[in-house]
Symmetry: C2
Subunit: 179 residues, 2 copies
């Protein structure tokens, strides 16, 4: 089984959680990691290369820090360009090149998971922030495998953060290995 | 009452709906229009200028074509940069500079409104695509004024499209004037 992980972190050098997660995941067998901001600093996505990697993959993972209840903008640039008509969707069945492939989300949030509920300043659940990505999965006839989430900076104490990152990474490794 | 409309269309020259809507809205009194892709072709947002315009506004409108169930990426770039700590939110009450301001969404979609439901290939409602923006509104202590939506290209016949655009524009003008 081949895994493609797309990382969307605008400043990986100053990242704590995402950088550590990625360093571990990159060493796994059969996992290809695309750090989108590093690969495409000029925001010009190599659409053909991305599509080729997708076609070879069984499991696709979007890894990102959540800012303003969604992914950093390059992931949207990637979606708008890579999931083109005739590849991501279309009039014919064969236009859905990602059909049956699996998508897992791997997310770090500033706000703790328990902050996401009605009555809080967010007023929606964490799951609800992911609707646009879930809809993309549905539209492309992929299979949604849910999400792994941990609480990153800036609201976490050092020790808690270590625990969060290790826990997140272990869950992600287990998911990939059991897949 | 001052209105600030942020337009996020990556290719306004080839747009039909958004261009016509904007041409009309731009001529209204007390409405400032920022076409983000035209102003910031290099993706470098003038944060100070954007914040200054926001502070002067009572009603803020996000106008965009919906691709992949969310806005084009520049609107996310704008959010991540302009709604900074101490302006969009923060530890103190005075850090919420947008508190009490109103946000309206003005959206064109390829898929018709009635396609957005459980059981369809989207499998969620149109309202649910907007959760991340609604959460931003909540988090910034703004007031959410809902959305105006019309069905743009490519799935609409010419005559229907004209009707949709006129209807959308009229609703938007009425909202701004009645505000």
């Amino acid at each position: 089984m081949n895994t493609l992980l797309l990382l969307a972190h605008p400043n990986l050098e100053s990242s704590i959680s995402n950088r550590r997660i990625i360093e571990t995941i990159s060493s796994l067998k059969d996992v290809e990691v695309h750090s989108l901001y590093n690969l495409y600093a000029d925001k010009k996505i190599d659409v053909a290369a991305e599509q080729e990697s997708l076609v070879k993959s069984d499991l696709i993972i979007f890894q990102f820090p959540m800012f303003w209840f969604s992914a950093p903008p390059i992931l949207k640039t990637w979606q708008d360009q890579v999931l083109s008509p005739g590849f991501g969707f279309g009039a014919a069945q064969e236009d859905f090149k990602l059909k049956g492939k699996n998508l897992l989300l791997s997310i770090t949030t500033g706000g703790k998971r328990e902050k996401y509920h009605v009555g809080n300043s967010y007023n929606y659940t964490l799951d609800e922030t992911l609707r646009p990505l879930q809809m993309m999965v549905n539209y492309c006839k992929m299979t949604y495998k849910g999400y792994i989430q941990s609480n990153g900076r800036p609201f976490t104490e050092k020790e808690d953060l270590d625990k969060e990152i290790i826990n997140h990474t272990e869950k992600l490794i287990a998911f990939i290995k059991d897949f």
